[in-house]
Amino acid sequence: MRKLSIVLVTVSAAAVLSLTACGQKEQPIGQASPVTSPSGNQANGSGGAVSPSPTANAQKTMQIKSYYGDESGEKLVEKASEIKYTTDSSKYLAALATLKSSPDPKLGALLSGFTFTSAKIDEGNLVVDLKIDPSGRWGAQGELLTLDALKKTLFQFSEVKTLDILLEGKQEESLMGHVSFPHPIKRN
């Protein structure tokens, strides 16, 4: 069982890496600067383009806040991180990907067992579809922190008014069997 979960985590980590890699891959070929180039003319046709639109390839960089569990699993800790993305939906996925591994080994990467399938926004409602590997299920307090980390990370984007978290495409009552949450979750 343990072996299986390790494999699953590896696979899911790889999946997320490949998503964020869409942007990163361009760097050696395109501009050297890691900073956003707002105009579309630097876009190149190299692999990994998500959208057919010529401007969509322009890689943007953003400073965001990411959230992890503290050493004893009692509260959230905020850390600055940088994401690179091209499209809106890759922006949310890139933000979520920062939660999967912690920058500090003392902190808990609350979403280490999560695989994010999609993140789409429509009229302010962000729908995130995800999977949780059984190895990524926490106890009661850990689940509460995980849900808070998800909310805080995604609601920092002002355009996100409501957040609907789907578990393998379904509106479930709870992520890990202790805390229930509404569909959608409203911004506080």
Binding site: P134, R137, G139, E173, S174, G177, H178
Partner: protein, 462 residues
């Protein structure tokens, strides 16, 4: 509605159990539509503001009151008016707008007191202060009402049950004591209480839990000479801890008798019209205790360090606790799940609420990073604090793991159940030391016994 009732109950528990004989503050008579209210916690004057127990707002002004423990917030709803008040904050919110009050709500010995003038007037209810009599007059009905010819029979228990309507206002003095029927004596012997009246008695009654008590109202009666003029108590034995009585309402007169119990009982109330007596007979009955094994079936719960499932630990523990509780004559144990099946959180809540459960204990195994170890006990509602403290003491002692304290957090099964409820996180399946113990039968037996001892201690079962 059930939700409201339960949170209200939680709120009112404190109010009903504490007799108020020892308050230093001035006690303020409070008249509602001309009728003197005699709540068990007296209204009082704090910095020239009359503060009343929140129970008055719900029971007598007919508003819905909710309590949010985390925010220390009281929400009051009546018709289309919504008021939010916070303990020790002078700013209230009315329909989302901030309004300053003259006095902040306070929490005194477990009683939430709110400024009556602000709350009543915001709800469109008139409040007058008579400085000579140092009394407050609350008027819920429009003026010019003729007094009723017959007093109601329902007693003072229903909010808004047509009270004696009289012309309100400062000009009216409380009526002189009439020479109507009185309660002459209240005697508690063994498991029987006899209330002796001067005339035939009619009683209305209801039962309240945690703590267990029976409330009996005797409308149209006052307290006789032999009983303390306003309130008092008599000692009991057996299932009866004590019997308290008070003139609950002055006009129309109504006497309230509260029987504080040592254990859960079933009871009968007999009106003996020829002997002018009400006889209450008690019989000890079993407490319903729900043991909730967390997770199940496709929800494995946490996966332990060596790949074992939390759901199996929880179920093993629940079955052991059930087996021990089966030996207790005063406990009827109920399992939310007895095998590897899945229940939604709200299904667990519904099972407990529908079965009239007295105590709810949810059993879980914890998971976080490998270094974290120890036992945590969670509660959410005010009515569960005592249970949480007791359970935590017994469980940490039995488990012998580090004490990670009693904590308050809103996990579904302890927020939505309407009885004292706790969630136990026995130990960390992600910690090698905790995990090894948690899957050992000796540890499980010891902790199961700790859980049972905690439940019995809470229920005061020897």
């Amino acid at each position: 509605m059930k939700k409201v009732v339960s949170s209200l109950l939680a709120l009112c528990l404190f109010l009903i159990i504490i007799p108020t004989v020892t308050h230093a503050e001035e006690k303020i008579p409070l008249y509602l539509d001309g009728k003197l209210l005699v709540p068990e916690v007296a209204p009082r004057l704090i910095n020239e503001n009359t503060m009343v127990p929140i129970r008055i707002i719900s029971e007598n002004l007919g508003a819905e009151v909710k309590w949010n423990q985390q925010e220390l917030k009281v929400s009051i709803d009546k018709n289309n008016t919504h008021i939010d008040l916070w303990i020790n904050k002078r700013n209230a919110q009315v329909g989302g707008k901030t309004v300053a009050m003259d006095a902040a709500p306070v929490l005194i010995a477990g009683n939430t007191l709110v400024p009556i003038r602000f709350v009543a007037e915001t709800l469109g209810i008139k409040v007058d202060w008579d400085n000579d009599k140092r009394a407050v007059y609350v008027t819920t009905k429009p003026g010019g009402i003729t007094p009723p010819t017959t007093p109601p029979s329902g007693g003072g228990t229903n909010p808004g049950a047509g009270g004696g309507i009289q012309l309100p206002g400062g000009s009216q003095t409380p009526p002189p004591t009439p020479s109507g029927p009185v309660i002459q004596s209240i005697k508690a012997t063994g498991d029987e209480i006899v209330i002796q009246g001067s005339a035939a008695l009619t009683a209305s009654h209801f039962y309240l839990s945690s703590p267990e008590r029976i409330v009996v109202d005797l409308p149209n009666n006052r307290l006789g000479q032999a009983l303390n003029p306003k309130l008092g108590e008599v000692n009991g034995s057996g299932a009866i801890a004590k019997v308290r009585y008070s003139l609950y309402s002055d006009n129309p007169a109504s006497v309230r008798v509260v029987i504080d119990l040592n254990s859960k009982v079933s009871y009968t109330v007999t009106e003996n019209k020829t002997a002018n007596q009400v006889i209450i007979k008690l019989k000890q009955t079993r407490y319903n205790v729900m043991i909730d094994a967390g997770h199940g079936d496709h929800d494995s719960g946490a996966v332990s360090l060596t790949g074992k499932y939390e759901k199996d630990f929880n179920l093993a523990m629940a079955l052991k606790v059930k087996a021990l509780l089966d030996k207790e004559p005063l406990i009827n144990p109920i399992l939310s799940r007895a095998d590897d099946t899945f229940l939604e959180l709200d299904e667990r809540v519904a099972k407990a609420n529908n079965a009239g459960v007295d105590v709810f204990v949810s059993i879980h195994g914890n998971k976080y990073t490998p270094n974290v170890t120890g036992t945590e006990t969670y509660y959410w509602k005010e009515d569960s604090i005592q249970l949480a403290n007791i359970m935590h003491r017994f469980v940490t002692q039995a488990a012998g793991l580090p004490d990670r304290k009693v904590r308050q957090n809103n996990f579904r099964v302890i927020t939505k159940t309407n009885m004292p409820a706790v969630l136990l996180e026995i130990g960390y399946l992600s910690n090698s030391g905790d995990e090894a113990k948690m899957y050992s039968p000796a540890f499980q037996d010891r902790v199961a016994q700790g859980i049972v001892d905690g439940i019995k201690s809470f229920l005061k079962i020897q």
